[in-house]
């Protein structure tokens, strides 16, 4: 069965995919804020990353940190094949929903 993704989940998966090898907690938050044009709470971002990982859509690995982090590890994320499938499915659904609708929306169809 196809995974259903919320807006923040889609944006998070896409951010991880865009950042490729540079996708870790803080960089994902910055990318999300840039793309969504609003502040994202750290708790929401970390919880979303953990939930996507638990669902098997993302995987993560720990890597040693830089001096700016006091040598503390970074958790890097990668989009799994099932994550890409879920994103494509979400895109198809959105396209299907909006098909034939002209913008801006008026009061009546």
């Amino acid at each position: 069965m196809a995974e259903t993704l919320g807006t923040l989940e889609q944006a998070t998966l896409l951010s991880v995919w865009r950042l490729a090898k540079g996708a870790y907690g803080r960089s994902v938050v910055l990318e999300l804020e840039a793309r969504l044009g609003r502040r994202i709470s750290a708790g929401a971002a970390y919880a979303t990353l953990a939930r996507l990982e638990e669902r098997g859509l993302l995987s993560s690995r720990l890597e040693s940190g830089t001096s700016a982090r006091g040598g503390r590890a970074r958790r890097f994320y990668t989009v799994e094949k099932s994550g890409l499938t879920a994103l494509q499915q979400a895109h198809s659904v959105a396209k299907s929903i909006w098909k034939g609708i002209a913008l801006p929306l008026r009061g009546r169809p």
Binding site: R26, G43, R74, R75
Partner: protein, 176 residues
């Protein structure tokens, strides 16, 4: 440069208390990096930092509460199982089995929160659906009974609280 270059000791202590070892290392590293570089500006760095600390604290309090309630449930329901086995009240096999199930799930919950796979945690969370419903039923039934039993009220309230915390307040993947 006026930015602090290390996490204040009290905040560091709270983070360490709230998070598991891996999450502490990763999240405190992210926070430290934000403070050092202030990529998104000082105000944004402070906001990100406070939000992360609050989120970690909420999680830490919930995790500690679940572990505390779990330990209480293990002891209380083990005692209840022994008493049922000794006193043999009506329907004691059912009550004994339920008490042992609750004690076992509480043990699994504590083990999972101290480190384990997401798959195991998912099964633990599923287990708390029926047992949480049982706790709510026992609590309400006891309150409606002519003679309210204090120990049943306490145990069913602990069961319900543990169930709600596991289902609503805990993260999808507790890490070691």
């Amino acid at each position: 440069m006026n930015e602090p270059t290390r996490i204040p000791p009290l905040a560091d202590l709270l983070l360490r208390w709230s998070l598991t070892a891996d999450d502490y290392e990763v999240i405190s590293g992210d926070l430290l990096e934000e403070l050092q570089t202030a990529i998104s500006g000082k105000a944004a760095a402070r906001r990100f930092w406070h939000q992360a600390l609050l989120a970690a604290l909420r999680l830490g309090v919930a995790r500690r509460a679940v572990i505390g309630l779990g330990a209480f449930c293990v002891l209380a329901f083990s005692w209840f199982a022994v008493m049922e086995a000794v006193l043999r009240h009506p329907y004691y096999p059912l009550r004994l089995t339920l008490a042992l199930l609750i004690a076992a799930l509480s043990v699994m919950t504590i083990i999972s929160l101290r480190g384990g796979s997401g798959a195991r945690w998912r099964w633990v969370q599923r287990g708390w659906f029926p047992l949480g419903a049982l706790g709510a039923w026992a609590f309400v039934s006891n309150l409606r009974a002519p003679d309210v039993e204090g120990y049943i009220a306490l145990m069913s309230a602990a069961l319900e609280a543990q169930s709600l915390l596991c289902l609503l307040a805990m993260p999808p993947v507790p890490r070691s």
